[in-house]
Symmetry: C2
């Protein structure tokens, strides 16, 4: 089960890892199964763990005052999941994270992750993830201020085609910042072209 994590780190770093490094990494990541609909994090809690998804699908969302859920992010295999602000600052989270499918994750605590940053390969992977996360946030923000809902949907399709196979449309709609009805109509328009 830890193999996919080790493999992921090797793919996302140029640094070699020693046998001891690998053992240390394996020793601090706690495997956990999260069944469909179960929470990894609930609003108001402090996010104690970052999770690496070995298998399954998860979503992160906020809930507004009317009780409507808004999908901040969707996750599949080989994604890292956490509420970074809560995890880093030890503050109560404004978000929920739950499993959309039965999911297997590897959990790491804040303290352990700080320790692992001393391993060059892990540290480099962290930096690269930070970069990628920053790039994609920038793109998503730019999409909200400058693209139409239809354009955002088309961009989403090309960037994350696999998401449509694993998540229902109403979650995708929420991720795009529109209602499920609007997404349904947009899809109808696209098909008619």
């Amino acid at each position: 089960m830890h193999e996919s994590l080790i493999n992921y780190i090797e793919r996302h770093s140029t640094q070699p890892m020693s046998r001891e490094d690998i053992e240390q990494i394996k020793s601090v990541f706690l495997p956990k199964k999260i069944r469909k609909k179960q929470y990894l994090l609930q609003e108001g809690e402090v996010c104690k763990y970052a999770a690496f998804i070995v298998k399954g699908a998860m979503r992160q969302y906020s809930v507004d005052d009317k009780g409507v859920e808004h999908v901040v992010q969707l996750y599949l295999e080989d994604w890292w999941v956490t509420d970074r602000e809560s995890f880093t600052m030890l503050t109560p989270s404004a978000f929920n994270i739950d499993a959309w499918e039965d999911t297997e994750v590897l959990l790491i605590s804040k303290a352990d992750s700080v320790e692992l940053m001393k391993i060059p390969a892990f540290n480099e992977m962290g930096r690269i993830l930070d970069d990628k996360h920053s790039f994609s946030s920038q793109k998503r923000i730019n999409a909200f201020i400058s693209h139409s809902a239809e354009q955002r949907y088309i961009d989403f399709l090309t960037a994350y085609p696999e998401f449509l196979q694993r998540f229902p449309q109403h979650l995708v709609a929420s991720y795009l910042g529109i209602t499920k009805e609007t997404l349904s109509r947009i899809r109808g328009q696209i098909i008619r072209k």
Copy 2:
């Protein structure tokens, strides 16, 4: 002129800096004056520098196919400005960065910034900035998917009250993802309450 940068680093790190560290930092940052309306970066160019704003005001924006500008970010004194993707990956930028007021910046190249990361205080500052940037991106994305334009404006006011004094409303409107007319009407409504 470098003083405000050194001061900034000290405020954003718990690590001490030696006299040599400070000298090294001062030696690699290139002071530059950018006059109002002049570009730090133009779309299509590779972003060669990250800039620390000593004095002035800048904006980062994209231009859509109709020629409309969309403000991705606004910056004042003590902010770091760059197109991180272009700067990191050496790819052509999709964004423009220009000065809204006459501005003084300190420029650093990618290569030099990698060198400075060996200084613990600078490295820690970088990590903390990454964290903060990640937190604020998350909040902004969440605002787009879950808040009304009016709510986004109110949040903006409380988060960045100083921006309203330095940037015209039409730039703020663009930053919020709405037109200047809509922002004008939203303000009218708020005042009438």
